[in-house]
């Protein structure tokens, strides 16, 4: 398997995640999209580490996974708080930034 195959997989995964982030109405779904995008990045890092023979990419991936866990916990906490305050978790209703 060539590097291109891994990178293509990662790009596709990234696009799927981005599509989810942009189109999902539910906040939880958006968080899931973000996870997919991060994992696409992880695949990239691991693939490069493997093909360039440099382990630092894998070390970065371990860090990313840890931080992603924290980010998901924080994101879910935010969603729960928003739901408590606004009584909704639908992204269309969260438009406080409106100009």
């Amino acid at each position: 398997m060539t590097l291109q195959a891994y990178l293509t997989l990662a790009a596709m995964l990234f696009c799927i995640g981005l599509f989810g982030v942009i189109t999902r109405r539910n906040t939880i779904g958006i968080l899931l999209g973000i996870e997919l995008m991060l994992n696409a990045v992880n695949i990239n890092l691991v693939a490069f580490a493997r093909f360039l023979g440099d382990v630092s990419g894998m070390v970065f991936t371990v860090f990313t996974i840890c931080i992603t866990v924290a980010e998901v916990a924080l994101g879910l906490a935010l969603v729960i708080l928003i739901f408590r305050i606004r009584r909704t978790a639908v992204a269309d209703h969260l438009d406080l930034l409106k100009g």
Partner: protein, 615 residues
């Protein structure tokens, strides 16, 4: 010698100190009498300083004390300080003396004023003393101009002292406006002079003028602008219209500012900068002609006035015309001499008139009559002033006026000389008209209120009168004994002519108003064409009103329209466009985080495409 500089500086700053005290310490100002005494004491100090400074000067000496004021890259743009010479200290004495006497006199004249108003009056008086002395001692045009504007401000404030009266407020504004018209030209002239020579300093300009005058060639316009400033301040035709209206102020103010000192600032300025005017003979000629014409015009106007203060006001305008004529003829010394003597006797006349008004309660000379018996002291001092003004030998005005006539003749201004002689005749006539109507003869047909118990002024008002009267006589006698050397040789027939003309004027006034051998109405009918025009003040006031109302207001309206609809219009349209555009742009901010993500993703995509776009 150094002492004279410090003494003059003290004379200048003493009234300023009084002004600062009175203006900053409010309870002191509002206390009235103590404020008055404070101002008087400081003015007395200034007078002492001025006299000692004068005694320390010698005729050919000029002492300068300068402090840098506005620094520029290479040196100093202008400085402040004093330029003391014999003439400046003489003027300084006149200012301090008349200020002092007027302030003492005002204690009696304004005794019925509330304390707060009195304090305000003396604050203005102190400020005036400070500004006027700063003007007299100014070593450069900048300081002179600043003090020039300050005395204009004091004039405005003091004319409008009784500001609840609409006439007073209007007269104050009129005086301010018309003198400002001249001042604007003055400022332009100063700046033009600076751009040509690079200095404001009198001494440096003098050296430039002495050194061949190449640097000063073609000064005509500059000197003419400077003259316009002087003409506004010194009430020369056609700017003279503000001075008679300025009589709405309290009489002591008229005596100090609008007769003895401030209005002569213009004459003083031309005298001080005569070395510049020598390089512009055409302008100098115009100064002489306008001066003589002003003297004659104002003298005819004075003949038909029935308000005693207005007679004196027009007489002041006329005498200022005399001084200007002498300067225009090239003999500034004669004009300056008349300035000094005129300051003394015109202050005397105004203060005496003030005593009459104070006692009688009216300004109308036809409501007076027979005052000589009721107010003998006032009559005597008024007569001294009148004789001085008419130019009778052994009185102050005689010698200086004759010298001006001689100067006009020697300067080759033949027609102005004729005008001045005619004006001298009219001067004697209108002054003795007042004397015969108001003081001599029977009581008035329609007595003014309070005339029945008219009496001489209290001592505090009488004292300045007597001092001034003694000075007017003393100067006259001193001049008769020791003729100051004239700058020219007057023709031998001049003295008899001057005396004869004055005598003829007095005789005519006696025939018309004393003996009533000639009917005044008949006389005025005979000269109907001129007396009617004079009654209307030669329509000059109307002309000014027209100019101000139609021209300036019209231009203002046009400018206002342009400002409102073109300047503001453009801005309004631009701002409306901006608002609309902003409002449209605002709508793309939906507040949906997903939309922003979409925008960012699209942007990244576009960037990638752009980076990879084939060149």
């Amino acid at each position: 010698m150094a002492a004279s500089g410090f003494l003059a500086l003290w004379a200048w700053l003493a009234p300023g100190l009084a002004f600062l005290l009175l203006s900053l310490v409010v309870p002191l100002r509002r206390s009235g009498k103590p404020a008055a005494w404070l101002s008087i004491v400081f003015t007395l100090g200034a007078l002492v300083g001025a006299v000692t400074a004068w005694r320390a000067t010698t005729p050919d000496m000029a002492r300068r004390m300068l402090w840098d004021w506005i620094p520029v890259e290479d040196g100093v743009l202008t400085s402040v300080g004093v330029l003391v010479d014999a003439d400046a200290t003489r003027m300084l004495i006149l200012v301090a003396l008349v200020s002092l006497l007027v302030q003492v006199y005002s204690l009696g004249y304004l005794a019925d004023e509330p304390p707060a108003s009195l304090g305000r009056y003396y604050t203005y008086q102190s400020l005036f003393g400070f500004s006027m002395m700063g003007l007299v001692l100014a070593p450069n045009f900048v300081q002179l101009f600043i003090c020039w504007e300050l005395v204009g401000l004091c004039s405005y404030l003091l004319i409008g002292y009784w500001y609840p009266r609409p006439e007073a407020a209007r007269a104050a504004v009129k005086a301010f406006w018309i003198t400002k018209a001249g001042d604007a030209f003055f400022l332009i002239g100063i700046v033009m002079l600076w751009s040509r020579t690079g200095t404001f300093d009198f001494s440096e300009l003098f050296e430039l003028a002495q050194g061949g005058g190449e640097a000063l060639a073609g000064l005509g316009l500059v000197t003419f602008f400077i003259y316009l400033g002087a003409a506004g301040k010194s009430a020369q035709f056609p700017f003279h219209v503000w001075l008679p209206d300025a009589m709405e102020g309290p009489t002591p103010v008229s005596a100090l500012i609008h007769a003895a000192t401030m209005v002569t600032a213009g004459v003083y300025l031309l005298f001080r900068t005569a070395f510049l005017f020598e390089h512009a003979p055409d302008v100098l000629g115009a100064v002489g002609w306008i001066g003589a014409f002003t003297a004659l015009l104002a003298a005819t106007l004075a003949c038909v006035q029935s308000d005693i203060k207005r007679v004196l006001a027009y007489s002041t305008v006329s005498q200022l015309g005399y001084m200007m004529a002498a300067i225009g003829a090239g003999f500034g010394g004669a004009g300056f001499l008349h300035l000094l003597t005129h300051g003394v006797f015109k202050a005397l006349l105004f203060l005496a008139a003030g005593a009459v008004i104070h006692a009688v309660g009216t300004n109308d000379i036809f409501a007076m009559g027979g005052l000589a018996r009721r107010m003998p002291q006032t009559f005597i001092v008024f007569l001294v002033g009148t004789l001085s003004l008419a130019g009778i030998p052994f009185f102050a005005g005689f010698f200086s006026k004759e010298e001006i006539l001689g100067a006009a003749w020697a300067g080759g201004l033949t027609v102005p000389f004729g005008m001045l002689v005619l004006a001298a005749f009219l001067t004697a006539f209108y002054m003795f008209r007042v004397v015969f109507i108001a003081f001599l003869g029977g009581p008035a047909a329609a007595p003014g209120h309070g005339e029945a118990h008219a009496h001489d002024a209290p001592a505090i008002m009488a004292l300045p009168l007597w001092i001034l009267a003694a000075l007017a006589m003393g100067i006259g006698i001193w001049f008769s004994v020791s003729h100051p050397a004239a700058e020219f040789a007057p023709p031998g027939w001049l003295t008899p002519l001057a005396v004869a003309v004055a005598g003829a004027g007095i005789a005519l006034a006696w025939l018309v108003y004393g003996l009533r051998a000639i009917s005044a109405d008949r006389l005025f009918e005979r000269f109907a064409w001129i007396s009617e025009a004079a009654m209307e003040r030669f329509w000059l006031d109307d002309l000014f009103a027209l100019v101000y109302r139609r021209l300036i207001l019209g231009v203002s309206r046009a400018v206002g329209w342009v400002d409102r609809y073109i300047v503001d219009g453009v801005l309004n349209v631009l701002s409306a466009w901006t608002l609309t555009a902003g409002d449209r742009l605002r709508r793309i901010q939906t507040g949906q985080a997903q939309d922003y993500v979409y925008g960012i993703a699209l942007g990244v995509l576009l960037l990638m495409v752009w980076m990879r776009w084939p060149k």
